[in-house]
């Protein structure tokens, strides 16, 4: 944890607070629609599938697979300049939603599409623990 964290972070507000409280607690918590069962990310005030506002925040498995990844070389964001080049992965959760993320515990050259991963939280400020993902070893995909 650091008070000097300089990278951009999403704003925590009433709509997404449950996501960030869950993350501080080490759990990946997403909105589930009570009416149709749909699960989505990021947060919304109504279910994007059926428009119901009967929504419950619930933990998901935290498991998924790397749909794809890139390695950023261009300096677009000053706070990431020292990290260049760095990998960004697009993970498809078992429950369906996609999340943009970083993979910990693997170098860019180790990344493979469809590799199984699980969530690993990185607490970067008092308020925010970022969900990142790490490879799951010894598991059939």
């Amino acid at each position: 944890m650091t008070t000097q964290y300089a990278k951009p972070l999403p704003r925590v507000h009433d709509l997404n607070r449950a996501f960030f409280l869950g993350a501080l607690d080490g759990r990946l918590v997403l909105q589930h629609c009570d009416a149709c069962g749909h699960v989505w990310f990021p947060s919304a005030q109504s279910c994007p599938k059926c428009l119901s506002q009967e929504i419950t925040w619930k933990p998901v498995s935290g498991r998924g697979r790397v749909w794809s990844w890139v390695v950023m070389h261009q300096r677009y964001i000053p706070a990431f300049a020292d990290d260049l080049p760095y990998a960004v992965a697009f993970v498809e959760l078992e429950e369906g939603p996609f999340m943009m993320t970083s993979i910990v515990g693997a170098e860019p050259e180790d990344l493979v599409c469809d590799m199984p991963v699980e969530v690993a939280f990185d607490q970067v400020t008092d308020e925010v623990a970022l969900p990142k993902f790490r490879p799951v070893t010894g598991e059939a995909s």
Binding site: L15, P42, S68, V70, Q74, Y76, I77, V88, M100, L130
Partner: protein, 386 residues
């Protein structure tokens, strides 16, 4: 008395493009996007043989303030007016709407005007502006991991494409090289120096798997297209061009990265444009494909049926897409060599090709051309000379 429903077909009668190469070489922080649009409109009016007072509809794109445009262009009382966002997907949408407005009788002669001073003002299409509004926005989460810029989202799709279909490193090179080869025959192209495969491969990565020459060239420029009724088109300066088919389909999700590479939307559009036109991709004499980043050309060729799924990277090899090939692609140099005019100049090129107006890069006996934009609003038109 009730309104009457016009059944008259709308046609394209004038096009205008500014000198993208001159604008690229002479960056100017004071260059106005509105003036570039006006410059292009003036060229398009001359091209059509129309006077400014003939214009009774104005649709601007990337020029957010239509009132400012009307003021500066001295078009005070257009019957229809609107301003469209400055995204590449809108180029085809604006032309569709202009046709629709004319065919509905809401206006007779509509000017579609695009202006862009992105190079001079240092536009980057990536960085920390995402996700600052109310609600929850994928852009704000993505930035936390250093993810930004449309090219990176396309790179994400292309890596997956390579994984699924075995496209090797360098598989995109023929697209970048073809654009550069065609641009050398285009007097207003920004980049005309020939490109070799070695140069393509040795260029730096912007976002691996994409390199410098996979990226569109941000530039300044203006483009205008004038649409009017078939009746009004008679006796104008240039042959009228018919839009014999046009269709669109969106793919609206939180990310530019689409898990099906836009295929669902693009196949829907392909099915409808080819049904309307009564022809198929094999009948198109040249195709202008929106190429903000080179992988999008592969996705387009495959979803529109030019190449089988997963084989586009092989299909583009060996000169097939060259000016004298089976299916010439991006005959003016596309977004990676002519200029990134967000689809607008590609539409103009499709129009010029069927008019026989494309100079040294004219495709022989070009009767049918097509514009394809695969993006979050997929759209496509098929053009023929009236």
């Amino acid at each position: 008395m009730a309104r009457t429903v016009s059944r008259q077909e709308a046609v394209v009668v004038g096009v205008g493009t500014t000198d993208f190469g001159a604008q690229y070489r002479n960056r100017d922080a004071n260059r106005s996007d509105y003036q570039l649009g006006i410059d292009a409109l003036k060229i398009a009016l001359d091209d059509a043989g129309l006077a400014k007072d003939d214009i009774d509809g104005v649709l601007t794109c990337r020029l957010p303030n239509y009132e400012k445009f009307g003021t500066l262009a001295g078009i005070r009382h257009p019957k229809v007016v609107n301003a469209y966002e400055g995204s590449g997907r809108m180029a085809g949408v604006v032309l569709q709407h202009a046709i629709t407005l004319v065919e509905a009788g809401l206006a007779t002669t509509v000017a579609c005007v695009y202006g862009n001073n992105g190079r001079s003002v240092g536009m980057t299409y990536g960085g920390e502006s995402a996700g600052r509004g109310p609600g929850d926005d994928t852009g704000a989460y993505d930035l936390a991991y250093g993810m930004t810029s449309p090219g990176a989202y396309v790179g994400m799709m292309y890596r997956r494409y390579q994984h699924l279909y075995g496209a090797p490193d360098g598989a995109l090179a023929p697209l970048a090289i073809n654009n550069r080869t065609n641009a050398a025959l285009n007097p207003v192209a920004a980049m005309t120096k020939p490109l070799t495969e070695e140069e393509y491969l040795s260029a730096r990565y912007i976002c691996d798997p994409l390199r410098l020459f996979d990226y569109c060239m941000i530039n300044d420029g203006g483009v205008a297209i004038i649409v009017t009724t078939a009746d009004r088109a008679r006796n104008l300066r240039k042959p009228a061009v018919r839009v014999i088919a046009t269709a669109g389909s969106a793919d609206l999700t939180g990310h530019y990265t689409k898990p099906d590479f836009f295929d669902t939307a693009a196949r829907d559009v392909a099915g409808r444009v080819y049904a309307q036109a009564g022809l198929g991709p094999e009948d198109v004499d040249c195709v202008q494909i929106y190429d903000n980043f080179t992988p999008i050309v592969l996705f387009s060729l495959e979803s529109f049926g030019f190449a089988p799924r997963g084989e586009g990277w092989q299909w583009i090899k060996d000169g097939r897409i060259g000016l004298k090939g089976e299916t010439p692609v991006n005959t003016s140099g596309g977004h990676t060599s002519e200029s990134y005019m967000q689809g607008w100049a590609l539409q103009v090129e499709a129009i010029r090709q069927v008019r026989g107006d494309a100079g040294d890069r004219q495709v022989a006996n070009c009767e049918t051309s097509q514009y394809i934009c695969v993006a979050p609003v997929v759209n496509s038109h098929v053009f023929q000379r009236a």
